[in-house]
């Protein structure tokens, strides 16, 4: 029994930490990618005077929007759980 380092707790902190600390932002990025139009479209919608002829005005389909929304919902739920942990601590 090691009294200096609690390896079990350390493992959980690293493991869950990776899921929450790196996984959630990644999920946020996926959500953002799903709900935002592709780069060419966004450039076309840029400030007046921007020259861009390539963009079609096609937005994202409802499935992509819903999936993106789901990603954001999971991130928000995790945030809520984090606040619960603070309060419950």
């Amino acid at each position: 029994m090691n009294t200096w380092i609690n390896w079990a707790a350390l493992g959980k902190i690293v493991g869950i930490g990776l899921l929450a600390g790196a996984g959630l932002p990644a999920l946020f990025a996926i959500g953002l990618r799903l709900v935002t139009p592709s780069s060419t479209v966004a450039a076309a919608a840029g400030p007046v005077g921007t020259f861009d002829a390539s963009g079609s005005s096609a937005g994202r389909g409802p499935v992509a929007l819903a999936a993106g929304g789901f990603c954001f919902a999971v991130v928000l739920a995790a945030l809520g759980y984090g606040i619960f942990l603070i309060v419950d601590h």
């Binding site: 929450a20 600390g21 592709s38 601590h89």
Partner: protein, 408 residues
């Protein structure tokens, strides 16, 4: 609701035995309470950067809005501290040797080190400053045998060594993934999206900071009150303690330790919104999980590690390891340096009676006031916090301003 603010019984009895009937105890109690609130205040401005430096550096938030948001969230967080333990450095020093004078001297050590490192623009751990101060004053009062070395290593030193490494890893992996995943998103939408993500994750860090750090001061004051006999052991921490501690840390945060914010936001890595979100998410996750598993980590060590990690995870990004290295030296020095001040303060205060206490308090105020005045010569404020690193307003951590500013 009945269980709110409940204190473990038994704490502070020894202090009660020693000081309860002392004629000066009212004055000493007032001195400890005021000093503890002053420490809480320095804790606030010293740590604003942990949460907000990245959002300020990427201009996701205007500097003044960022510190205001962090101040409010620290206030809210402090009121969320439902279980205040009336203790100081528990498990690190034998509770039998903690007297009111020891607590006072320890706080003096913590404040002095916090203000000195703020002046130098070094993000060092406020918790370590307090722990170091108390250990030093305990050694001066009761000798080295009063320190629980095993607790010090396993609860303070090892976590301090491991937490920045964990934070670097999580933030680096997060940054790597974010950069890959967002390649195809147009810059405008990306910037807007990640500004929101960055502010959200930084807010979690602020909230967690308010809860963790304000609670420490609440515990110190409650311990002093129990020692004085004003509060019964096992009773709730009085409302005014909660309110005053919450206000002190929040006001300190709002003041913004611009010198430290600058070092964290501009000195280590040039970051964009995605790196900012990766860094703050890594910090929030590491801090919350660790406190959930019973480790009270230094928010500063974690935040610094996360910011470094966000540079490590980005190929080609410049990470100023020399700045990080000098910072790490300051972290190592924090415990002994605050300890030396705490020890000196304890010896003076105990030896000199009331006059000794006054001298210590006056000396601390003189040092802090002097550093504040000296800081006016190289002011860093919301106006120049985002200037290029290495220009005239850099902290002493930057080589350009190192030993003496050379005329350019």
């Amino acid at each position: 609701m009945n269980k709110r603010w409940t204190l473990p019984s038994g704490y502070g009895r020894n202090v009660l035995a020693e000081y309860g009937k002392d004629v000066n105890s009212d004055g000493l109690l007032a001195l400890v309470v005021i000093t503890a609130l002053a420490f809480d205040f320095t804790n606030g401005f010293h740590d604003t950067g942990n949460a907000m430096a990245t959002s300020i550096a990427t201009r996701a938030l205007p500097p003044k809005i960022a510190v205001a948001l962090s101040g409010v969230l620290n206030l809210v967080g402090a009121f969320l501290s439902f279980s205040v333990a009336a203790t100081i450095a528990s498990g690190l020093v034998s509770s039998g040797s903690v007297t009111l004078t020891v607590v006072f001297a320890g706080l003096v050590g913590g404040i002095t080190w916090n203000v000195a490192t703020w002046f130098l623009g070094i993000p060092s751990s406020s918790s370590h400053a307090l722990i170091g101060g108390v250990i030093g004053s305990t050694i001066a009062a009761a000798g080295f045998s009063a320190v629980k070395w095993h607790g010090l290593v396993s609860k303070v030193l090892l976590p301090a060594l491991l937490s920045p490494v964990i934070a670097i890893g999580i933030a680096a992996i997060g940054t790597l993934m974010l950069l890959r995943l967002t390649r195809s998103i147009a810059e405008r939408s990306r910037t807007r999206g990640f500004r929101i993500g960055q502010i959200g994750s930084a807010s979690m860090v602020s909230l967690a900071h308010g809860t963790n750090d304000a609670q420490k001061t609440m515990g110190v004051i409650t311990l002093a009150l129990i020692a004085h006999g004003t509060v019964q052991p096992g009773a709730k921490a009085p409302d005014w303690v909660i309110i005053s501690c919450a206000l002190a840390i929040s006001l300190g945060t709002y003041l913004g330790g611009w010198r430290i914010i600058r070092t964290l936001g501009k000195g280590l890595v040039e970051i964009d919104e995605r790196q900012g979100m990766a860094a703050e998410s890594a910090s929030a996750a590491t801090i919350l999980l660790s406190s959930h598993f019973g480790y009270s980590l230094s928010t500063t060590h974690v935040a610094t590690g996360s910011i470094l990690g966000s540079g490590v995870g980005r190929r080609g990004a410049e990470v100023r390891w020399s700045v990080a290295g000098r910072m790490a030296i300051a972290w190592v020095v924090t415990l002994p340096a605050a300890g030396l001040v705490g020890a000196g303060a304890e010896a003076l205060a105990r030896g000199g009676g009331t006059a000794g206490l006054v001298v210590v308090a006056a000396a601390m105020m003189a040092i802090c006031g002097g550093l504040f005045l000296a800081s006016r010569k190289t002011p860093i404020s919301s106006a120049n916090v985002n200037d290029e690193w290495g220009s005239g307003t850099s902290s002493l951590l930057s080589p350009a301003a190192a030993p003496a500013p050379v005329a350019a």
